[in-house]
Symmetry: C2
Subunit: 666 residues, 2 copies
């Protein structure tokens, strides 16, 4: 029977061979972690390779995503639908085995990792989701939600600031079913970490309130098995298992050095490694008996069958809860979830109350919240300012379930935790901060878009009109940054009505995240006909039709729509045919058919002015070289909001002058 070491060496061989064939990749981490992974995957992790999406599986996150071959190797060996061919095509075009693990591309990959530290945060989010769902659905004798979340993190993950944010939160929240394995190999790309990473990691995590298992020899199978069992058994606090490993273990020439990290070992070194680890098999050749030992399918099927039996009994005992659990895990919305929201839009359209769109957003949440128990909100310490907390929000704590959490001043951690919650399933996260501090969380937002998950971001204080807080808080270039992010939907509503449409779209959108960008200041409610109202969902629409033959188009978003409307009124009074297009969601507008788009923006009308209190350059996509943009290409100023807007030229007069300038220039 193959020994543990042989089974681990199968990982090592696959990793070094796949990297070698791709002539690209990171053999060091998989080779260093092979012994740990062998035990974790075969003996500890409760999963079912036959069904990678089994609802109650343990979640596993490889936060040091560059070690992707570790994950691909164990997925393949344990029987996931990932054939050897996929490993042979490691890092090749359209292979499921991308350079870094990609969610949705490869069965068993729970999240996309590579940008360091974020996998750790995702794992915190998954553990949090598990606990909230357990609190909501489990019943005496029916622990239908009951799994652990495991993560492996590297030195790089722990250097990154986000590891601090989420580890501190996990400790505060006592997420006991989170177990994190620290691959303590003392090497990062620049070499031995002694010169830049000397902190006492154990002390740091104990300060966070974690259970820390120190000094585990990551190549001593018994020690690892003991540590993982201890971690699994300790559910009052999250556990950090500190495994001392040797990067590139087995390579006589490169083990323990940065050379093993991110480059092929080379044919010669691979041959020497084969000899050293006593692995005589050809590249990609795994002896049948090793495959057999590795195969986790039978055990996994039994494990899931046990759970299915439990769930069946639960369905009998608690049919409504069971149906609701299945609905939520499937990510489906209940019937009529948006009834209140639609009604709010209608009443806002008739009520015409000027309102901060952040407050309108809060009212939307009041409408949605009662119908969507899966909605889980939060803010990076700006709950009141962001309007993310609604009346029915129940604050989650370490001891009590809820649907709202103040994440503290941790934008990046919050957003990446929300990614983890969305990935786990059963929850729809939405989180808030000021638009400018989106930047702190920026790469987590990008990963949400890349993964195509439903994660809703509420970004308030969306322009220099926020006023006195000044340029550090005033967004300029952020909107165009959001709009150029693939697969991110962005809404910047002009009033309460558009805000309702933004929320409708955001909740419905399953294939990616949505950013809802909101004002601090009051905005005027816009008057709309029934048709105009109905067109909002198209992302861009004619809000004010021309009163005379069409000469000019003013495109505006958010709080600047009222300036556009006022300018159009002035111009119209001078018998100039001008139309106002409100474009709360550029991406949604661009997704409409050409006929609609051309009807809103007739291609031959080149006198176009865009107005937005943000960087102007983006808008040339719509106004071209012949149009004009009333925007802001400098940093803001600390002053009352209206004065800041005036100082920076975002005024009705500027819009009127821009149209006049273009028409005069004809």
């Amino acid at each position: 029977m193959p020994s543990r070491l042989e089974r681990a060496n199968a990982i090592r061989a696959l990793a070094m061979d796949a990297v070698q064939r791709a002539n690209s990749g990171h053999p060091g981490a998989p080779m260093g972690l092979a012994d740990v992974a062998e035990i974790l995957w075969r003996e500890v992790l409760r999963h079912n390779p036959n069904n990678p999406t089994w609802l109650n599986r343990d979640r596993f996150v490889l936060s040091n995503g560059h070690g992707s071959m570790l994950l691909y190797a164990v997925l393949h060996l344990s029987g996931y639908p990932l054939p050897l061919e996929a490993l042979q095509n490691f890092r090749q075009l359209h292979a499921p085995t991308a350079g870094h693990p990609e969610f949705g591309e490869c069965p068993g990959v729970e999240t996309t990792t590579g940008p360091l530290g974020q996998g750790f945060a995702n794992a915190v989010g998954m553990a949090l989701a598990e606990r909230e769902l357990a609190r909501a659905f489990n019943q005496p004798d029916y622990p239908v939600v009951n799994h652990h979340t495991w993560a492996i993190v590297g030195d790089g993950c722990l250097m990154e600031g986000i590891s601090h944010e989420v580890a501190s939160l996990a400790g505060t929240l006592k997420l006991g079913k989170l177990n994190v394995i620290y691959d303590d190999n003392g090497i990062s790309i620049d070499g031995a970490v002694d010169a830049w990473f000397t902190e006492d990691v154990a002390g740091r995590f104990e300060a966070y309130g974690w259970h820390v298992i120190r000094d585990v020899d990551g190549h001593d199978a018994d020690a690892v098995a003991r540590a993982l069992a201890m971690a699994r058994g300790s559910d009052d606090r999250p556990t950090l298992i500190m495994c001392k490993t040797v990067i590139g273990w087995g390579s006589p020439g490169k083990a323990g050095t940065a050379d093993a990290h991110g480059s092929v070992l080379g044919d010669e070194e691979i041959a020497r490694t084969r000899e050293q680890i006593n692995w005589p098999h050809a590249p990609f050749e795994i002896p049948a008996e090793i495959y057999q030992e590795w195969d986790c399918r039978e055990a996994g099927a039994e494990r899931e069958a046990d759970w299915q039996r439990l769930f069946k009994a639960y369905q009998s005992a608690h049919p409504e809860l069971a149906a609701e659990f299945e609905r939520r895990m499937a990510g489906e919305l209940p019937d009529d979830w948006d009834k209140g929201l639609v009604n709010f839009a209608v009443s806002a359209q008739t009520g015409l109350e000027p309102l901060e769109t952040r407050k309108a957003s809060q009212r939307c949440l009041e409408m949605i919240g009662p119908n969507l128990p899966e909605l889980f909100g939060g803010s990076a310490d700006l709950s009141g300012s962001n309007g993310t907390k609604w009346k029915g929000a129940r604050v989650m704590t370490a001891d009590k379930g809820g649907n709202y959490y103040s994440f503290g001043v941790r934008e990046f951690g919050m957003t990446a935790i929300a990614n983890g919650m969305a990935l786990h399933g059963g929850l729809i996260p939405y989180t808030g901060t000021f638009l400018v501090f989106m930047e702190y969380a920026r790469n987590a937002l990008r990963l949400a878009a890349l993964m195509g998950i439903r994660n809703i971001m509420v970004y308030t204080h969306d322009s220099v009109a926020l006023g006195e807080d000044g340029p550090t808080h005033q967004p300029i270039e952020q909107l165009s940054n959001l709009r150029t992010t693939p697969n991110l939907s962005v809404w910047r509503p002009a009033d309460s009505v558009e805000t309702s449409f933004a929320w409708q779209a955001a909740i419905k959108r399953r294939e990616g995240p949505t950013a809802i960008v909101l004002t601090r200041q009051k905005t005027q409610a816009q008057i709309r006909s029934e048709d105009t109202f109905a067109a909002i969902h198209r992302g861009g629409y004619v809000l004010v039709a021309e009163q005379h033959e069409l000469q000019a188009i003013i495109i505006a978003t958010g709080s600047e729509v009222e300036l556009a409307v006022a300018a159009a009124r002035q111009l119209s009074a001078r018998r100039i045919g001008v139309r106002v297009v409100s474009m709360p969601s550029v991406d949604t507008f661009l997704a409409q058919d050409a006929e609609y788009r051309d009807a809103v923006l007739p291609p031959d009308v080149r006198c176009r002015v865009a107005v937005e209190a943000g960087h102007p350059d983006y808008w040339h996509k719509f106004v071209g070289l012949d149009g004009a943009v009333v925007g802001i290409d400098r940093f803001g100023v600390s002053a009352p909001g209206d004065q800041a807007m005036a100082e920076l030229g975002i005024t009705t007069d500027a819009v009127t002058a821009a149209v006049d300038g273009l028409l005069g220039g004809k």
Copy 2:
């Protein structure tokens, strides 16, 4: 004689009155920190209000920048050129007293703070700069560089991930002259922090290797004085002074609550506070005797005079060192610093060697480094990949001076530390990471631009052509994000020659940061005439002139310039008059006069194609509605670089087809 408490109450009164008059701001932190600040400012900090830029002053950073009125109050009271009128105009248009402290707008403000945690990082950078300059310039009996760096940080700063990155580094580097006061008031905007911030901060900082002074009552003047003196005396490790304070101290109704944080107290509460703290004076009225007690000008002048005497003696003993110190602190470049760099450009122009622009950048550093001892480099654990380490780079450690440091995987901390180094003066920092991970550091880059400081960012692996690492590592929207950042200069050179020009511009640019965006893969060297070569510094220029009457213009940057040139060759062979404009720096090009710009891009030539392996939308600024962009509006793919480029349509054929499409469509 006014008591300590009365002097502290002067801060409290100014803070609450200024916030009230502005009807906006944060009274809580200044009122809570007044006792600490009184001692720090009057008795501990070695500064000279007469000369806020005295070279050897202690640096002070208010990392919790929303408490700006604390800083404005002590600056005013201690005699800086900040009149009472400025405080009365707190947060008003064009006042030096912006909502958050702004570097360059107000004497005595050492850095712009507000985005939490970054001030802490700046302070680490200042302390690091101080130590490196001391190592370089101090001589026996002549400690001409010898000051401390002080910072105040709030709960929010310590929640932010960046605090972890930089505190860990400061501990590793044993930055003993850094003293950080933690305003431990237990309150953040969402309320008492117990529910989201329960970590053992002292334990955490001890794990980082800091000297921690625990349990200081921030309202017990003797305790604070003792703690600050102890911190000042302890220079082997950085010190954290943990001051327990009450936010809004003195306000009977709001002290100790989140209500005191970010809103006016209100006239009534202010009246009650005046009574409680026994401050009978009218708003903005400070009794003369309190002013007198606060006045630090005489002591400051003496302190600086002592140093000036020392420096004069140093000038006699070490004239060359003294002159060099003054040059570096003035931020002036030595004569002929760029000779090697210019020569490199010339030889690259004649040598025409294909090279990765990241390697060309490294060669530039080899040319610059020996002439610029103030250059201080680093990378976020990607030294080899970024090409930031040159042969003459001397690695800095806790014990040894140098001009290079591996910052570990800490992009945000690194960039904000570099901001602190630039702010301190005497060093020109440059740091590297992959372009996509700029996002981790994004807001520090923004602050560098806002502050207008010379901080150079080297961003390599600048497109999907980086290949197998896949979409997590492949930039798409990052270039347009950089280009829409006000006051950031961006260069994306096409070859070694343009890379040299990028470095020349970056080093010369004193008024703001520069991002140099570089390829992982080899780029072809472009052939240029003498005139063409000379035009590179204009940021955009005609690289290949049309061979026939001008019909079309192809605009390209970086590695796509060679595609544009190849396409132009094909089109030219078909007798189509096409010109290639290389535009390594859009902002530099836009700063040229209209005549030049119109000569490069004749306004009537509307058949324009831009090609860049990044998001296309930005380029409509140049190609308008009639042109076309060959770009990438989706995420990348994990595959060898050339295959990734082909898969995503960045090819010569695509450029040719785009031109044909536009011409055919005419």
